[in-house]
Amino acid sequence: MSSESLPTFVVVGHVNKGKSSVVATLLEDPSIPIDLVPGTTTEAAAYDFKIDGKSIFRLIDTPGFQEAEATLEQLKMRSQNAGDHQNAIRDFIKQFDGSGRFHDEVELLRPLLQVGPVGLLYVVDASRPYRATHEAEMEILRWLGRPGMALMNRIGPEDHAESWRPVLQQFFSVVRDFNAHEANMEARLGLLATFGELHVDWKEPLKTAMDSFAARAKQRVSASASALAQFLVEAWSHVETMNYTPGSADSGANLEGDKLSSRYEKHLRKLEADARRTVEAVYGFAPLDHLEQNFNLTPEDLFDQEGWRFFGLTQTQLTARAAAAGGVVGGSLELITGGLSFGAGVALGSAVGAAGVWFGSHRVAKHWTPKHTRFAKLFPGQHGHMRAFGPIANDAFAYVLLDRALVHLRVVQHRAHARQGPLNLDDTAGFRVGDMAAAQRKVVDRTLHACQSAGKQKQNPGAELVENLASCLQAFAQGS
């Protein structure tokens, strides 16, 4: 397809109404400059959607109207009748190009004059009421005689779409709602379909683009699921080892034990961070910052409720932990979900102390020393000079890792690429461990136990296990 017949859409509108955000979200490109203040985009810039290096359609981001009234006045001075509107605009551009005056208007009008069909996307902020000053902008756009549609973005929480609609309908054949920060896959594909309607030649390429986006989404879920499965299997089977000083007194031994468990925690955290980074990269984001409570798994942290909140446990899960302390061990998932019925009130308060001990660092995983009869079998050739910590012995804790990973995936998956700032992981709506189907939980349970025994035997859990878990997670993530 030559560049002339490439479906091209110029995104215009008043300054600071979310034009760049629309482009970033539609093309899933987080690198487009977006900022709070008006005048962020200063030059028109073309962004192509490509498949295998071939451009399929093009969006042109523009600076936006800053002085529409004055521009219209200038245009009117150059035109006698409707027949010479386009010439008037050409004159206008010729006169002011490079002069500094009307820089933004020149930049946004120029791409609209190119030969061949060009679509026009007029972005407004429908969380603000319609104001008569926008009429000049739409009037100018009408002079161009290009097929166009209006997009009602929502920057603020309010809704004034009703004051906009009747006006927009006078100027544009299509008026659509499109929230640049919240738009999900469906809304984006729907919009692309509408783009295809603007010109007879565009239907086909836009259809190709939609298919490609949908395929990409699937492939992203599957890549993320593999990354998560890899991470979980590694984390669940991980055993931290350390050379052991024989004959040291008890306090020394404890100290070494603490060191070992903190190394273990550190390693798990690193695995988690790496997995998150991978998922973010799969979705085309540079490493994101995370808004969540920092956690320190120092032993003292493990003993108080607050510390567990830092670790990412919800009140419900905390209760589940308390229940576990009561001796209801096993059936790991029921522990977490069933926690609901325990009520997070008084029972929690009294049980948390004991739970802290139960869930203390020494019980997150088992601490092996040569005293254990099976030690020699597990670590052949180590003549009693090694300690080991792991693999995860605490099912609830293992599920916490899974849950955190799922929350993260969910938030990344639904993040519009126009979004700025850190990922908010405290906002934990969406799929969680508790939403898994019984069959899926069974897969997770089986994987977990396989990891535990593999870890104990110092064996590699195996690729098959990872694949199984990956396809389970993929089904889960795709299903919701």
Partner: protein, 489 residues
């Protein structure tokens, strides 16, 4: 030590009930945000990545706490440490003087016993030093802290005893961050003592050298003891300086053999030698083997202490709670510099006839005069008469030109521009403001007041909108132009 004081105070304060320090923390947080001109999220990020930022924030917080008279133990603990350090030095010096004097004891008619001198002031010192290293090595291998049980015990007692008048004891039980530093302080005391001891010994030696005649000799009971044994010992001891010092500082074999004391005869084996000539060697032994290692050790420990102080990270749980109170997660999405925006009250504005107001933008038609000057409207609150209000920024450009002509030549006390908060400023407005500035002169204050109007109400502008307005207008670099806001009602 002033830094240590901060750490003690901060850790102690964090263990206390929040109510004791919350106010100060919030105050510091607010001013820190304004000063750094960053959002809460950015501040949190900065704090988590820059230990320096954490440190300075903790410091500001402590200053505020102290100003508020909150009792904190740091000052008195640090004073106690200084006192203990002084005590260690004084005791060391006294012991050293006495030991020096004892080692140089003379029996009438006999030279000073070289063995005694070397034994007490060199061999014993080297032995103690080595014992210290062995102890440290054992502690290290066994993963214990250097200080050992006794040290811990005295540390605890010290904290309790000393601070009981100044603070609540239980809270001093656990100051995990500072005790990493305290370990080096306590070890420093032992080395202070040792340095002072060796100095004291050296001083008494030099004093005696100056004011009396000291003959040194050696003897052994079995006559079979060969002087070559002592020779090689002396060679080893003198090795550090023998290559550089004059010959007399490293005694020769003949000299050593000659100064063997024959008790029965009451003279040296070689009567022609002078037992006084031992002194340079002995003084050097004292300085090089006794004093020098202790000075090195002391300075190493001091540097470790400084390092430990620098590496205190402020990252423990108490601190995280502190951050949470100062910069709550929920506040991350809003930026706070808008707090710095001055609020408008009727009394803060000039009431004069030479005040003009411009209502900018295409405000909806339903806000007519009756809305603008209703009882609860900001314009009424500012005592703004309808006669001094003009309209611009709507459809058409004539009004803007009219205002410029109308204002040229008139002397204004101040100019108010009322804008729609949710419509971000565009170049139409900023270039109009530029023209206004040229017309009214550079000294006339121009106040921009972003307003919201909903169904007859005048709610306060959102922080986001205010930030957009301040950030955009500050790029105009007009000192007399300011964004103001109305008090939330």
């Amino acid at each position: 030590m002033t830094e240590l004081r901060d750490f003690l105070d901060a850790e102690y304060a964090l263990q206390r009930d929040e109510s004791a320090w919350e106010g100060a923390a919030k105050k510091v947080a607010a001013s820190a945000l304004v000063q750094a001109n960053v959002s809460v999220g950015e501040m949190r990020q900065r704090l988590s990545s820059q230990p320096e930022a954490r440190r300075s924030l903790v410091k500001q917080w402590l200053v505020t706490l102290r100003e508020q008279g909150v009792p904190l133990p740091g000052d008195s603990m640090v004073r106690a440490y200084v006192g203990l350090g002084g005590l260690a030095i004084a005791l060391g010096a006294i012991f050293g003087l006495v030991a020096g004097k004892t080692a140089l004891m003379t029996t009438a008619g006999q030279p000073i016993n070289l063995w005694l001198f070397l034994g007490v002031l060199v061999f014993l010192q080297v032995g103690l030093l080595l014992a210290g290293f062995v102890f440290a090595a054992v502690a290290k291998v066994r993963g214990k802290e250097w200080l050992g049980l006794l040290g811990r015990f005295s540390q605890t007692i010290f904290r309790w005893k000393w601070v009981k008048h100044h603070a609540e004891r239980e809270m001093l039980g656990a100051l995990p961050e500072t005790s990493r530093v305290e370990q080096w302080i306590w070890l420093g005391f032992t080395q202070r003592f040792a340095v002072a001891f060796n100095l004291g010994a050296a001083i008494s030696f030099v004093a005696l050298l100056l004011f009396s005649e000291l003959q040194f000799g050696w003897s052994t009971t079995p006559d079979s003891f060969k002087s070559t044994a002592l020779e090689s010992l002396v060679d080893v001891l003198a090795a550090p300086w023998a290559w550089a010092a004059p010959e007399s500082w490293s005694p020769s074999a003949d000299f050593i053999a000659g100064t063997r004391w024959e008790t029965l005869e009451g003279n040296f084996r070689n009567p022609s030698v002078d037992g006084r000539e031992w002194w340079p060697f002995l003084l050097m032994s004292l300085l090089v083997w006794g004093l020098l290692p202790r000075i090195l050790l002391l300075s190493w420990m001091e540097s470790r202490k400084r390092k430990a102080l620098q590496s205190l990270t402020w990252n423990h749980r108490g601190y995280q709670r502190w951050v949470e109170i100062m910069f709550p997660l929920q506040a991350c999405s809003t930026r706070t510099p808008v707090d710095a925006i001055e609020e408008v009250t009727a009394s803060s504005t000039k009431q004069s006839d030479s005040r003009k107001g411009i209502l900018w933008g295409a405000w909806p038609l339903e806000i007519g005069e009756e809305n603008l000057f209703a009882r609860h409207s900001p314009l009424t609150a500012l005592h703004f008469p309808s006669s001094s209000l003009v309209y611009a920024g709507g459809q058409g450009l004539e009004q803007e030109a009219d205002i410029i002509t109308q204002l040229s030549g008139s002397k204004l006390a101040e100019l108010w521009v009322f804008v729609e908060a949710g419509e971000s400023p565009d170049k139409r407005l900023t270039s109009f403001l530029g023209k206004l500035r040229q017309t009214v002169g550079k000294d006339c204050p121009i106040h921009i007041l972003p307003l919201e109007h909903h169904a007859g109400q005048w709610p306060a502008a959102s922080d986001r909108d205010l930030e957009i307005w301040t950030r955009t207008l500050s790029s105009l670099r007009d000192r007399q132009l300011s964004v103001r806001r109305i008090a939330a009602s």
